[in-house]
Amino acid sequence: MKEFLAYAKMALPDLLQGTVVTLELTAGALLIGLAIGLPLSLMRVYGGRLIQPLCTAYLTVFRGTPLLVQLFVVYYGLPEIGVAFSRMTAAFLTLGCNSGAYQCEYFRGAIQAVSTGQMQAARGIGMSRLQGIRHIILPQALRLVIPAWSNEFIAMVKYTAIVFLIAVPDLMSKAKILSSQNFAPIQTYVLVAMIYLVLVGALGLMLHVVQQKLAVPGLDFGMDKR
């Protein structure tokens, strides 16, 4: 135990540096994913016959292939046709585009969970479709989506770990280096697991608070009332 603590003290500064990168990747990927997923879900629900197949194609590609394959295509494959990204950009783009596909489906589910009568009533008082979406549908859908979206958040913290395979200096990369420098795989990876656990726990708690703050009677899907 004493040995572990001493090792932890030595390794932590490096690992925390990696943790910052992991958090940056998580936040960036989620934001890119949000910027892609939300409009995509609206197109999927409200879009015409021309737009919907395009959305479906996007979802099929990003949900139907391994994230790692996508990362390698972007980082190693695209430069061959003249599109080269830095490691960090490649990581952000891949994680973001991938997350966009999943977020789209979460948002679509939440939008469709808002009853059709809501849009009818919005139109009934003279709102345009766009106003109905903005003022009536989305405020409800965004509340309903929080539990599913929290899932994506937490998953993303962990998905970012694959970027060590293109040598982005995230938590996992730092761990790999430390572990082989010190021949201490057990100590290193247990420590890394603990850091991920703390991150996920803290973020989960944060999202729960957000959900509670935004809760409205009758729209508190997934809330623990006790």
């Binding site: 009853s115 009818q120 009934g124 008082i125 106003q131």
Partner: protein, 249 residues
């Protein structure tokens, strides 16, 4: 004869090959209360939704205060704003308080400043007896209360005509009274209303005219006394005898 608020001319609506409404025509004069009765599936609700263009009529013309609203290029959102719609399932906006439900249209559609909208909303809520519940959310209200807020929400837009789509059909019997009372009050205040309803007692008491629909068209119309006491059409007679088995007509 005053100019009609609403004129419906040869309205038809089909879904694919199924004709739901065929050749419906009638005028609505200011302050007139029309109750539309008929069996389920005869196109009463579809007709209401066509009138405020929530559904696009297949053919026929509709005029709101002499202006044809079915003409191409007409701003449909603007048309709907001028007609209040009350739904069978209430359709209150779940994420907004009672007050928010009434003000959102005024603020976002009519562009009334928030403070003024609030004052006006409270007046409308007072009209339906719901002002004291203005901070509650829809999930905290009974069905009858929800429907009264639904009516206040429509009133807030200062509609030229109010359309009611079976406003009490989703309510427990003991809650229909409070909603009918509000509607009766509106009628007495001179609101122009078209009401699709199965409440025959209400129709008899409040309606200026009763329209009986069958198979997507108007089978018979007239003042309530005539329709309920001496219906001309065999079908009307049959419908009324099923609805009110005790009374022979």
């Amino acid at each position: 004869m005053p100019l009609p608020v609403l004129r419906i001319e040869k309205l038809c609506k089909s879904f694919g090959n199924t004709a739901v409404i065929t050749d419906v025509s009638f005028d609505v004069i200011p302050s007139e209360v029309i109750v539309v009765i008929g069996s389920s599936g005869t196109g009463k609700s579809t007709m209401l939704q066509c009138i405020n263009l929530l559904l696009r009529p297949t053919s026929g013309r509709i005029f709101l205060e002499e202006k044809e609203i079915t003409a191409p290029g007409v701003n449909q959102d603007n048309v709907r704003r001028q007609m209040g719609m009350v739904f069978q399932e209430f359709n209150l906006f779940n994420h907004l308080t009672v007050l928010g439900n009434v003000t959102i249209g005024m603020v976002k559609v009519s562009g009334i400043p928030a403070k003024q909208a609030k004052e006006k909303a409270l007046q409308e809520l007072e009209r339906v007896g719901m002002a004291e519940h203005c901070e509650k959310y829809p999930a905290q209200l009974s069905g009858g209360q929800k429907q009264r807020v639904g009516i206040a929400r429509a009133l807030g837009m200062d509609p030229k005509v109010m359309l009611f789509d079976e406003p009490t059909s989703a309510l427990d019997p003991e809650l229909t009274g409070e909603v009918l009372a509000v509607m009766q009050k509106l009628a007495a205040e001179g609101m122009t209303m078209i009401i699709v309803s199965h409440e025959m007692g209400f129709a008899r008491e409040v309606a200026d005219r009763v329209i009986f629909m069958e198979n997507g068209t108007i089978e018979e119309q007239g003042i309530p006394d005539q329709i309920f006491s001496t219906p001309r059409s065999e079908r009307t007679r049959k419908f009324l005898s099923v609805i009110r088995p005790g009374k022979s007509v």
